[in-house]
């Protein structure tokens, strides 16, 4: 099979890190990523495993940070090298189904007991299983040497990870299901602050900073599943602003103007760099030092900042967080959600509905062949300024797939 593979070569990570500010193509070319032809992953000796052939696989910000050598060393012990990236996958399963991949490598696929009946792969409050069972360590497919990843013509996946795609859903919609699930998870994570506002008789205000694919999916999630909120979005580029509006944002401003826009909506004063009040909750879909600091500044005391964008090492003055008793929480992935009406839903089910109803296929801006990965990664790294949102690999016409189908 053909695959893009990341190896644990410290020098190559260093080169990628050095080159990425100048050239993503250079980072891809000389960094830890390489295009290889090799055998498909071996199936574990366990029930429920399938071979799947990706049709489309997205390029995520977390993938890019790996390729560019910016990922945190936190992951060193939670992943296993070498691995094939790619976790936003719509694929053909060996049993004939068209599926989207829920990439978390949870208890079920590792042959471990579920934390509770009906648990999704992302559920459970002890992450020991991520480095145990009959797979090598890996938080999800795309970071585990055992399973392969979506940037390849083939990988393996467990029944617990697979969701059949309705016939009415296009591949382009389906490839957005995973990011949509992440956005919806973040949107639902604002609920405690939103609920408190509603109980006080206030109109809940949620700000979203950043309108790349994750920010846009969070906006869609808020509008669909936390419909009471007034959504204010800071988006850097005009096409992002237009998407934000079309997905249900009430107010959309350039990212640099978000703090003042929040004040205009929420009232209160600006005291120094902080709002005296602010929005009830904020979703940071950027994940940089600056973005987190900004969110802390315009989220009201005892409000909630949901960190959706994957950060690395950041530098923050947390005095304001301490003084304002702000909750700063992460929103990594998906699982079983507690909905505002008290019911339980699986995030991926919500995401499949959302991807179809919101026609998230419009966020797919360009598709590339796997061979053309350097240009694809460069496009993804510069998506905003190039008027794009989601860049994907299109593997439907790949040589390996054709060869297999011919055979």
């Amino acid at each position: 099979m053909k695959a893009l593979k990341i190896s644990r070569k410290t020098a190559k990570f260093a080169v990628a890190r050095l080159m990425s500010p100048v050239s993503t193509i250079g980072a891809a070319k000389f960094g830890p990523l390489s295009l290889v032809n090799e055998s498909a992953p071996t199936m574990p000796n366990a029930e429920g495993w399938h071979r799947i052939q990706p049709r489309l696989t997205g390029i995520c910000g977390s993938d890019l940070s790996l390729v560019e050598g910016h990922a945190s060393t936190y992951f060193d012990d939670w992943v296993s090298f070498p691995f094939v990236p790619g976790h936003e996958v719509v694929a053909d399963c060996d049993d004939g189904r068209r599926v989207v991949l829920e990439p978390v490598l949870g208890h079920a696929c590792r042959g471990l007991p579920l934390p509770f009946e009906g648990a999704a792969p992302g559920d459970g409050d002890d992450y020991a299983h991520l480095v145990g069972g009959h797979l090598e360590p890996g938080i999800q497919t795309g970071f585990c040497t055992s399973t392969g990843g979506g940037w390849a013509t083939e990988l393996i996946a467990h029944d617990s990870q697979l969701h059949e795609v309705p016939d009415s859903m296009s591949d382009e919609q389906a490839v957005l299901v995973e990011p949509a699930a992440g956005g919806i998870h973040a949107a639902l994570a604002t609920w405690p602050a939103v609920q408190a506002a509603i109980q006080r008789g206030e109109t809940p205000i949620v700000a979203v900073l950043g309108a790349g694919s994750m920010g846009l999916c969070a906006i869609a999630g808020l509008r669909r599943y936390v419909p009471q909120v007034r959504i204010i979005v800071g988006a850097r580029y005009p096409h992002q602003q237009a998407f934000a509006r079309s997905l249900g944002a009430d107010v959309v401003v350039p990212a640099a103007e978000l703090a003042r826009a929040v004040r205009r909506e929420s009232g209160g004063h600006i005291v120094g760099d902080y709002l005296s009040g602010g929005c009830h909750a904020t979703i940071d879909a950027v994940g940089s030092s600056d973005s987190i600091m900004d969110c802390l500044k315009f989220t009201r005391p005892r409000g909630r900042v949901v960190l959706l964008g994957m950060p690395a090492v950041v530098s923050l003055d947390l005095t304001g967080l301490w003084h304002r008793e702000t909750a700063l929480i992460g929103a990594y992935t998906y699982g079983t959600e507690s909905m505002p009406d008290g019911t339980k839903r699986h995030t991926f089910d919500l995401a499949i509905e959302t991807a179809a109803d919101c026609q998230l296929n419009r966020l797919v801006s360009a598709t590339y062949r796997l061979d053309d990965y350097q240009n694809a990664l460069a496009h993804a790294a510069g998506a905003g300024r190039r008027g794009a949102v989601k860049i994907v690999f299109d593997l439907r016409a790949s040589d390996a797939r054709n060869k297999k189908e011919t055979n």
Partner: protein, 528 residues
């Protein structure tokens, strides 16, 4: 003998014309045979004995008793004065307000009046700093009154200190400063820089609140003021005069003191700015070249500081006191005598060099909204009869128009730029959709009352100021402005004057007639 204003018909021998560009200037060659330049009259001679003239005016007022006869022990006397928004640039010390206030206080002291309050009539403008107050009223007055709390600034958001006096027949609310309304005599000390200043505008606007101001600071009034400088055709003027009648009927007794200044605007190093270009001497050319080259290399912040430190050698040309309306009639004559220039007919294009200063950015930044106000609100309206540019014509302004705002002075301007102008540039739409929110914003009120911020609604007023020009012209072009900012204003950016004329040709053809208003110094074109 000063020369009157002058209209130069541009021919091939005409040198390039000076255009202001914020904190810099440029020379622009205007097309020969179809361009004209309007120069202000030269400064009129100053009154030599200023203090004597002031005393004479107070002792021989128009249609009122002499001031000493209106003063008595135990009375409440309030002296209100024009704020930092004029004159422009600030005048060299002693400021004329200081000299008038000192004369009034001398007479009050002689009459045994000891309940005297001095109030800066700033309406919804920003509060003046101590240095600015000292400059306006002088150290002696400041030190005698400010520490005792009897020299202070009008607060249009202090309901405890406002008096509601009723409505005009047009239903306009009249609310002014309580101390002024309840005084036995209100002495108003004015500087009349342009024809729309003074008269009932001093009290009915300067000492009023949003509740009153909204009745004439709105798009409807502004569109129907043709122009602000022509009292008989100004709805703004008429509304203020109606409110003045309510003041009179409510028993508010006003002793109006109005002064006029000549147009001696720039001190000697910058003298070339007021000269006619063909009369520039080699030293003027050298100064121009040295200034522009130096300013090109000077950080904007420093350049602003340099320009705002300029103190104008303005001199007083008249002072009259007494009845508000009678005084103002004479004042207006003096203003016209200094500023009126006869001009025949309109042109397709009006060009304006926008300087670094306006009434609303003293010691501050001429932000994009104020650029608009300066060009379309002030310069466009410097006419009697009809505008210098024909209906459907084009205005070309030169200014850097950067998205720079003074965060202390103009906080609501930032939001106005980011929120309101992103939504609409139509004065009527914004007045209905957004004005109330800004006028009632508690943070803006807090900043207006406790810091040095213009009131939250002020950027709307600045935009309304240009309502008539927006309606009258088919295109507004800014040469040298930041393109993104210029577009946010709803205007068209151009990199050079030639580009601007090319852009304008879509609307006015390839051989348009052009008028350049060579201001400052200020002038009013009497267009027939």
């Amino acid at each position: 003998m000063p020369r009157p204003g002058f209209v130069l018909e541009v021919d091939k021998s005409t040198p390039p014309i000076l255009f202001w560009r914020g904190e810099n200037f440029s020379l622009e060659k205007l097309p020969a045979g179809r361009s004209r330049v309007i120069y202000a009259p030269e400064p009129l001679p100053a009154i030599e004995d200023v203090d004597g003239a002031i005393r004479h005016a107070l002792l021989n007022p128009i249609e009122q008793d002499p001031l000493p006869e209106q003063l008595f022990p135990g009375m409440k006397l309030t002296i209100a004065f024009d704020d930092v928004s004029l004159p422009l640039p600030k005048m060299q010390r002693p400021d004329i307000r200081q000299r008038v206030i000192e004369a009034v206080l001398d007479m009050a002291a002689e009459a045994g009046v000891d309940d005297v309050h001095i109030i800066s009539a700033l309406a919804l403008h920003r509060r003046m700093t101590e240095a600015e107050l000292r400059h306006a009223v002088g150290d002696r007055v400041y030190d005698a009154f400010a520490p005792r709390g009897t020299l202070y600034q009008h607060d249009a958001e202090d309901p405890e200190n406002l008096s509601y006096l009723g409505t005009t027949p047009h239903g306009e609310d009249v609310e002014i400063n309580k101390r002024a309304a309840e005084s036995d005599l209100l002495v108003y000390v004015n500087i009349n820089l342009v024809a729309m200043d003074g008269g009932w505008k001093s009290t009915a606007t300067g000492l009023s609140s949003y509740k009153s101001l909204r009745h004439h600071h709105n798009p409807e009034t502004m569109i129907h003021s043709r122009s602000f400088m022509d009292q008989h055709r100004s709805e703004l003027h008429k509304s203020n005069w109606r409110m003045g009648k309510v003041l009179l009927d409510s028993g508010v007794k006003v002793f109006q003191i109005e002064t006029t200044l000549n147009t001696d605007t720039f001190p000697s190093p910058f003298g070339f700015l007021a000269k006619r270009e063909w009369e520039w001497k080699p030293s003027d050319r050298m100064t121009f070249l040295a200034s522009t080259k130096a300013l090109n290399r000077t950080p904007t912040r420093l350049a602003r500081k340099i320009f705002h430190s300029i103190e104008a050698p303005h001199q007083m040309t008249s002072v009259q006191a007494g009845d508000v309306e009678a005084v103002h009639r004479i004042t207006t004559e003096h203003v016209y005598k200094q500023q009126l220039v006869e001009v025949k007919g309109q042109t397709d294009i009006l060009t304006l060099g926008i300087p670094y200063i306006s009434p609303y950015n003293v010691h501050s930044i001429l932000n994009p909204i104020l650029v608009m106000c300066m060009g379309l609100g002030y310069y466009f309206n410097m006419y009697k009869g009809m505008p210098l540019v024909r209906e459907g014509g084009v205005i070309i302004m030169t200014h850097p128009t950067q998205p720079d705002f003074h965060p202390v002075h103009h906080p609501s301007y930032i939001d106005f730029f980011e929120q309101v102008l992103a939504d609409t540039t139509d004065p009527k739409v914004m007045s209905q959709k957004w004005e109330k929110q800004y006028a009632e914003d508690e943070w803006y009120k807090h900043l207006y009352r406790t810091t040095y911020a213009y009131h939250g609604v002020h950027p709307f007023y600045m935009w309304y100021w240009g309502s008539h020009a927006l309606q009258h012209c088919s295109r507004i072009i800014i040469v040298g402005g930041d393109p993104k900012t210029v577009r946010r204003l709803g205007f068209v950016p151009a990199s050079t004057m030639d580009d601007a004329l090319e852009i304008a040709s879509d609307v006015v053809g390839r051989a348009p007639t052009i008028t350049h208003l060579h201001a400052p110094p200020l002038m009013v074109a009497d267009v027939s």
